[in-house]
Symmetry: C2
Subunit: 270 residues, 2 copies
């Protein structure tokens, strides 16, 4: 089943376009899991238990799984999310060449364990660097288009000789690379006008919109422009998984409440 079809089904089943970012910062894990074997996995499991009814997908960021136990925690997390029938988008922002690109793409195959259903990639090295991902037609490939961080402007806003900013060219390239219908775009929510202008360029490509929640993006614009035929994702990571830090009740209940609130907030605009 192709990723965007699977995602459409999940969005329908959960009545939600919320992507829950699983970024288990080791400095912020609650005591309840800190001393467990594979504390990140225990943390993610309890977050998934608390939030899965409201999750269109889970988005672990690879940065939080890069150590001796990390890959195992990531694999257990993917398997557990699948057990709740929620797809997993690995936020890896990978981009490399030749045999290294092929090697990175193996996480989509599940030869060594559970496979991610989609991945984020960086376009700076061009088409052949993304080919091993694009070729896996049933997997989703979200190309970084316009990111929401301050430095995003350093390269992405540069004006080309043709008059367009670099990020618009990247968006056109992503459209060109979408021969298998499996390409998405990562577009930040901090500038609603940009989000709208990018949507006008590619009416049919689903967006992953980060920056709602901890980064304070515009929820209405994220939904209005982020979805293509109803399919797309609006992500919150810390705003959901660490909601319990500011709660007097149960840490994980607070994550569930936060996911539910974001779902409702976004559903107002769907």
């Amino acid at each position: 089943m192709h990723f965007f079809d699977r995602l459409a089904d999940r969005i329908s089943a959960a009545d939600s376009v919320v992507s829950v970012g699983l970024d288990p910062d080791p400095d912020r894990l609650p005591d309840a899991v800190r001393d467990a074997d594979l504390p990140r996995w225990q943390f993610n499991r309890r977050i998934i238990d608390a939030t899965h009814e409201h999750a269109a997908c889970y988005k672990p960021n690879a940065a939080f799984y890069e150590d001796a136990d990390g890959w195992r925690a990531l694999q257990e997390t993917i398997a557990y999310a699948h057990g709740k029938d929620v797809p997993v988008l690995l936020d890896a922002k990978r981009g490399d060449i030749g045999n290294t690109a092929r090697q990175y793409a193996r996480i989509l195959d599940g030869e060594d364990g559970p496979a991610a259903d989609a991945i984020t990639v960086n376009p700076f090295l061009g088409r052949d660097s993304l080919e091993p991902f694009l070729q896996r037609a049933e997997k989703g490939v979200f190309v970084l288009g316009r990111t929401s961080n301050p430095g995003g402007a350093d390269l992405q806003d540069l004006e080309l000789a043709t008059g367009e900013p670099l990020y618009e060219r990247v968006v056109h390239l992503a459209d060109l690379w979408n021969e298998n219908g499996n390409v998405g775009l990562v577009v930040g929510a901090t500038n609603p006008d940009e989000l709208e202008s990018i949507r006008d360029l590619v009416p049919d490509i689903p967006f992953l919109v980060p920056g709602v929640g901890a980064q304070g993006g515009d929820a209405e614009a994220a939904v209005e422009h982020g979805l293509a035929d109803g399919v797309g994702l609006v992500n919150s990571s810390r705003g959901i998984i660490f909601a319990g830090e500011d709660s007097r009740g149960d840490f994980f209940d607070a994550a569930g409440q936060s996911a539910k609130q974001l779902k409702r907030r976004l559903n107002q605009f769907r």
Copy 2:
């Protein structure tokens, strides 16, 4: 000790600017290590034994260490290279934002094990995405400038409104970001003219030049333009570590011979 000072010492001690890429493709490991515990680490150890006299640095590519045992194999590899007094440059091409960028940079700290001495990074997300790396003033940060793969042209050659190609702007930005004197650039060797023009822009920044060896770049140009005050790296990965596939003798001896030959070939032009 700052990375480029350490690298200068090593270049002097080994009389070599060869970077040996440790990309232990699981499909190409020889029988001698295939059934070992941590076969990649056993492979790398024997490669390091055979090549270290000729190595200015080792460059493991993170793509080959992304599975349950991978990080441990990488850590053992870093420790073993350090035991031979050879610095390690992790070819990770990372680029992410905020707390994820900070998390990726931890591999330079050695909190959870041996630390890499330098890393490659992707500039597409701009300065704040690289700040956690740049801040670690004793560590080397090699920014992707102009890559040697076919798709490198897709973005990097785009002409800006100012008339310069995008990669030149990236080179200028890298120079701007070099407040701690710890920035290098990754510049492919497949186009010697480009290598020369980039060197003219930034006379003092050491380059990591991949693409000599398996990718068939120009060794003379790589040395002539890649070094800044004698410091820089010319990488070969498969051309060294899998040289034994075409040899009738010992697999690892062939790697040592290949590293020695590349060292001599490059030293003609130093």
